[in-house]
Symmetry: C2
DNA sequence: CTGTATCCGCCTGGATACTG
DNA sequence: CAGTATCCAGGCGGATACAG
């Protein structure tokens, strides 16, 4: 009789699965840089401002492990390594574009809301 | 002449803006719980498994500050507080559904890729 | 019922130095 | 050129206790 209150757990949460893949700091930026085609390591490093070697490598390794990026080491001197999106990785690109669109349409409203909220809550008791 | 290598920075990255809003651990779960309509604090707490008071409150405050959730405190004894999505918050729900769909379609491939990767890289030198 | 306050471990990510 | 290794600070999130 009583209305059900369905419980959701974070483990069975599809959103979390996706976010755990793409939400680390540089992931989307790296994938976006690869959406234009095959890129070499140093090329990525130059295109993505302020990314460190450690973070670029770490992000690429994680993407490779998740099957979103393919690594191709060319045995030459000096060594060259190419990275590109896998078909699986490509399936995320449209979603990134939608995120971009959302940010374009609505992010100004978020900034507005934030400053409104902060003004209302940070006033150090100046009221008479 | 040389081909341009356009640089992207993380500050002007639209993806980051969106992810910074929704990627904290409980955010999407809370918004999803609110997508069914107005909910009270305790109701949310019961519906979302394993969320602590601190995390629920903190997530709600952040959502309120970003203008995605509206808080309505009803002056009664004992106090009652209702939360609901704002129109701005509602605009994110379709995107969550798409994330859910992506997870349904492709997450098994990610898990497969991970176990493949781990098998190839974790073998403790057993080769002859 | 709806919160606040405090303490604290862990993990992410940055800086730096070194290597095949 | 394309990494690896190490150290370290800061922040996120969990546990617990208390409050209007």
């Amino acid at each position: 009789m009583a209305e059900k209150e369905p419980r959701v757990s974070i483990e069975e949460c599809s959103y979390r699965k996706v976010l755990d893949i793409v939400s680390s700091k540089w992931t989307v930026l790296v994938m976006a840089a690869l959406s234009g085609g095959t890129r070499r390591y140093g090329e990525l490093r130059r295109r993505i401002a302020d990314i460190s070697q450690k973070m670029l490598t770490q992000t690429l390794r994680q993407l490779e492990r998740d099957g979103l990026v393919e690594r191709n080491a060319i045995p030459s001197v000096p060594p060259a390594v190419e990275y590109k999106l896998t078909p699986l990785g490509e399936t995320l690109i449209p979603h990134f574009r939608e995120m971009r669109q959302w940010a374009h349409d609505y992010y100004p409203l978020v900034e507005r809301a934030r400053s409104d909220y902060d003004r209302k809550h940070e006033m150090p008791a100046t009221m008479d």
